[in-house]
Symmetry: C2
Subunit: 242 residues, 2 copies
């Protein structure tokens, strides 16, 4: 009997936004694996930390944050080998995933290496996009709105075309693209329709009109929500200055 591979969606950051299912599996899995940057701590593990029973085996998957399209093939090859050894020995392995595992997540790199050979289950989670709209206090999309999810690294031309067509958008993976994205949104006349959200659902959450963001940079865990027609309530958001 081999073990089972789980991709556990842990939600956007607040440990209380785990699902009951993710919580149950996290409490019982003998092995957990979590992504982390080269140096520094793992956000996924931090979300899980208050729930860990202790005594589990842990596998750190340290992913260089440099390349865009094929992040660290070797890192995932090696992690898969380590995980496979546990699965072969009959131990379940829960891979911790921020947000939802299959919504722009890196869990796919492990899943594609292992799911063909082992039983596997992906447990969906609350995405940061949903949490951001909840905290902004407005539906991101309703009725027959078209919602576009747009990765920030896309070139200006692609973003311009798609922002023109949708009713609402979430621009994700902002990080070092923040300055360029802010200028683009301004060129499109959408600054007053844009809400900036950083570290949603954590103590350090910041949420404000994009026009009020003082910095020229943004952390990796941030996004911009575009609400066309939302100018009035966005102007009145806490965090805005007159």
């Amino acid at each position: 009997m081999t073990g089972k591979l789980y991709g556990l969606g842990l939600g956007p950051g607040d440990p209380e936004l785990l699902t009951l299912k993710a919580h149950r599996i996290l409490r019982s899995a003998p092995v957990i694996a979590w992504p982390a940057p080269d140096t520094g701590s793992s956000f996924a593990r931090a979300i899980a930390a208050p729930h860990l029973p202790g005594g589990q085996t842990e596998i750190a998957i340290r992913v260089p944050m440099r390349t865009e399209r094929f992040p660290a093939r070797d890192v995932y090859d090696k992690a898969s080998t380590l995980i496979a050894a546990h699965l072969d020995a009959g131990r379940d392995v829960a891979v911790l995933c921020e947000g939802d595992p299959f919504f722009y997540g890196s869990f796919m790199y492990l899943f594609e290496r292992l799911a063909g050979r082992y039983k596997s289950e992906v447990v969906p989670g609350v995405s940061s996009m949903m949490a951001a709209a909840s905290h902004a206090g407005r539906p991101l999309a309703a009725r027959n709105d078209v919602l576009s999810v747009l990765p920030g690294p896309l070139p200006d031309e692609a973003l311009t075309e798609r922002l023109g067509q949708c009713d609402a958008a979430a621009i994700i993976k902002i990080g070092r693209h923040f300055g360029r994205l802010r200028a683009l949104i301004d060129d499109l006349g959408l600054t007053d329709s844009a809400v900036y959200v950083e570290r949603v659902s954590l103590e350090a959450e910041r949420l404000m009109p994009l026009s009020q963001v003082p910095e020229d940079t943004a952390p990796y865990f941030s996004m911009i929500l575009i609400y066309k027609g939302g100018e009035d309530w966005i102007h009145a958001l806490p965090g805005s200055t007159p």
Copy 2:
């Protein structure tokens, strides 16, 4: 001291896909309110049922399923009045929401009537879109993919334009539009890229290539996922016939 209004995201259907936070609030709220069709049972209440402590006051919000843009203004006016009376009396009220409250949900109709006057909190939930991709076994969007969320009632022209531009799409609110949508997807050459998902995460879940769906109709709780480039694995999905 007035009570607090909660919009509780309950997830896609499996009662174990509630968040710990929604579960805590559900266990302690003295009053719950839930949407239901004119006749018949409430899906949101069914998700919550295994967790209800008993003894809570319940408000049924029976919404006619006919009109599209402004469903049942009167129904929400009356429900808001009932809810406001409890809030005025100091009792918290939890409104039960399928999926995520602010992702195409009807909670907005109560929120816009009440949130200005009462403390309120929206608790995000796992959306059926995330759950559907998890169960299909493939990320709906990854890397720099553009994901579009498209309501099925949109006219063919709008859907055609948006389906042409995105890398992946979730077509929601299918119901009686199923036949038209299937024909449109076929005209666009996307049938082999399409996965049909019905009642995701419930016992009655059905998930299969769109090409294999025998019926000409679909229930309200169904969606079509478009994975451009996904033809090979979609063909091999369980549920497909050679």
